[in-house]
Amino acid sequence: MGELRIQGLTAEVAGRQILNGVDLVVKSGEVHAVMGPNGAGKSTLSHVLMGKPGYTVTGGSVTIDGVDLLSLPTYERAKAGLFLAMQYPVEVPGVSLEELLTEALSAQGRDASVVHTTVAAEAERIGLATRLLDRPVNVDLSGGEKKRNETMQLAVLRPKFAILDELDSGLDVDALRACSRRVEAATTEFDLGVLAITHYSRLLEELKPDVVHILAQGRIVSSGGPELADELERTGYAEWVEEEAPATAAADPFADPFADPFA
């Protein structure tokens, strides 16, 4: 049984502290949802875990099975078993999916000869048209196709832990169902541990969370079972953003509970 352990993680962007001490432990096969309002630090958390340039970790630790991730370059974190499904998958002109996955597997000393057949099988499983597989990575794919593509890569690479950064944004219901089902299946197929970062609960209809955390102002402010997500669906994040919400918004009974409090 492996574990992804995040302890007291603090980080800043451009001199501004965004994460204020995040504590989380995800075990293999578990699904943890991290929910929170806009500006809570959700994307920062996912980027910091994967080592995206532009973020400075100021404290805390992140380990997979005791291996310190924060001292590793991004590709070594992937090798250690971490995967990030990006909210906005980047278009990489001139680089094919097969090239990407072949290099990724080879670099980890794994058998890359299976890429072609594995990709074909996983693409079919997630409903990604094979004609799209010959395109350069993400180029000219729709929002839904991009998310299916991210999930398909996850399935081919079989990481220990996957961070899903707003997997549910920018895609239609069918694509959302296909992606969340595939991830759910991976939790038993290869014991994938999942950290699903999301604003909405619709992702969690197919991808059943074991634990739901609420991230607000850069720290986990509440954790509970799946019922916490249902509760959020009803009440919104008002309770968690009260401190910084403008007074007028709190007074307005018709205020959008999902409105960006920093807008």
Binding site: F83, V92, G94
Partner: protein, 411 residues
């Protein structure tokens, strides 16, 4: 082999009438160039004809797959040529210029004297010259390859190539510029002549050795409804320059111009392009993509000129540069000069490092940083290479790019 009298006269006229004053880098078209470092007295003009096909040229021809015809030029002398019999029977010609059909009128048909002093030097000093002639209505199915090889150290060589494509004729030509690892000065002049509704796809690979200085000119004219596609790969040389003058002279003429270039070490790669629209409904598309690593430099300056009569013109010019090291340098200067309102014109130019987001994306899948950058740089050139006129040359170009990436370009 002695030259015909008309050629002897032409040469001596060229020598007598010109001053051969070196241009100054004060002139816009020579700005940032290394022309000030060219000392012609340092190089000996080759006057003896080389013989025999170099092994490298044979190997190259071998790797190019099926060809309709081929010419090997060594230090300016045609040392071998061949053409499918069926094409000879149709009047196609591939070989030494002076022996070709209508030789006297073909030489200088597009670029009499060339666009600058180096063109005039070529006129005065070229040894044999190559002519590719495709008569009206003839389609040449497989490409024709020209291997232009230099292997005499200290030499000055002036290769000359004339390609004439008749009305509604169609041909693809690969012009490969290679060399042994010698120090040499080479100044090719290429004339591309596309008659009405003719189609010429011309691919030029410049992969000379690292001690060669080359100042090349490619001048083309396209008549009504003709299409010229000219692609260049600029990889070799210490200093490698190519000036492109594309003259769209007939209504409905099209000029597609593209290039990839990759500088490493202390190379300078220098490109000047002129898209000249002189007739209505003419189209030009230019896409030059380059990368500079090490302490190398690249220069791109381009001008789209649309004349008053050239209404209905579409003219596009894009130059993109990847800067792979802090010490590399790329200059990009696009220009427009438009004298009519009825045009669609655009230009774009960028110089920047490899996209950090793209690198991060590949790294997040487990691809090591260096490999990620390699994939992105190699992929950057795909857009041009996919359209390269002679597909069998593409793996050779890609291999040369890989070799440069292997050698390290980040510092």
């Amino acid at each position: 082999m002695s030259s015909p009298q008309w050629l002897v006269d032409r040469r001596s006229a060229a020598v007598q009438t010109d001053q051969f004053a070196m241009p100054s880098s004060e002139e816009e078209v020579w700005r940032y160039s290394r022309v000030a470092d060219v000392d012609l007295s340092q190089w000996a003009i080759v006057s003896d004809r080389s013989e025999g096909v170099p092994a490298e040229a044979s190997a190259l021809l071998e790797s190019l797959g099926q060809l309709s015809g081929a010419v090997v030029v060594r230090n300016g002398a045609v040392v071998a040529s061949r053409l499918d019999d069926a094409l000879s029977a149709k009047g196609v010609y591939v070989g030494s210029l002076v022996d070709g059909p209508d030789a006297q009128n073909s030489l200088g048909v597009v670029a009499d004297g060339g666009p600058d002093v180096f063109g005039r030097l070529n006129d005065a000093n070229f040894l044999d010259g190559v002519l590719v002639h495709v008569p009206a209505g003839v389609t040449v199915e497989s490409p024709i390859a020209i291997i232009d090889w230099i292997d005499i150290g200290g030499s000055a060589v002036y290769p000359r190539l004339v390609i004439r494509v008749g009305a509604d004729a169609d041909v693809r030509v690969l012009d490969w510029h290679g060399s042994a690892d010698v120090a040499a000065f080479v100044s090719p002049l290429v004339e591309l002549d596309v008659d009405r509704a003719g189609r010429l796809s011309y691919g030029n690979v410049q992969l000379r050795g690292p001690r060669v200085w080359q100042i090349a000119s490619q001048v083309s004219r396209v008549l009504n409804d003709g299409t010229l596609t000219a692609s260049h790969a600029g990889l070799g040389c210490d200093y490698g320059r190519m000036r492109t003058d594309c003259e769209l002279l007939g209504r409905g003429a099209t000029g597609n111009l593209s290039a990839v270039y990759f500088g490493t070490g202390s190379q300078t790669l220098d490109f000047r392009t002129f898209q000249h629209h002189a007739a209505p409904d003419t189209n030009s598309n230019l896409l030059f993509k380059g990368a500079v690593g090490g302490q190398s430099r690249s220069i791109y300056t381009g001008l789209i000129r649309v004349e008053k009569d050239a209404r209905g013109t579409n003219a596009f010019q894009t130059n993109r540069n990847l800067k792979l090291s802090d010490t590399a340098w790329a200059e990009s200067v696009p220009n427009l000069e438009i004298e009519t309102n009825d045009v669609k014109c655009s230009h774009a130019s960028t110089v920047g490092p490899v996209d950090e987001e793209q690198v991060f994306y590949l790294e997040s899948r487990g691809v090591p940083t260096e490999i990620a950058e390699r994939l992105i740089v190699a992929g950057f050139f795909d857009e041009v290479l996919e359209e390269f006129p002679v597909a069998t040359a593409v793996p050779l170009i890609a291999a040369a790019i890989d070799e440069r990436l292997d050698a390290g370009v980040n510092s």
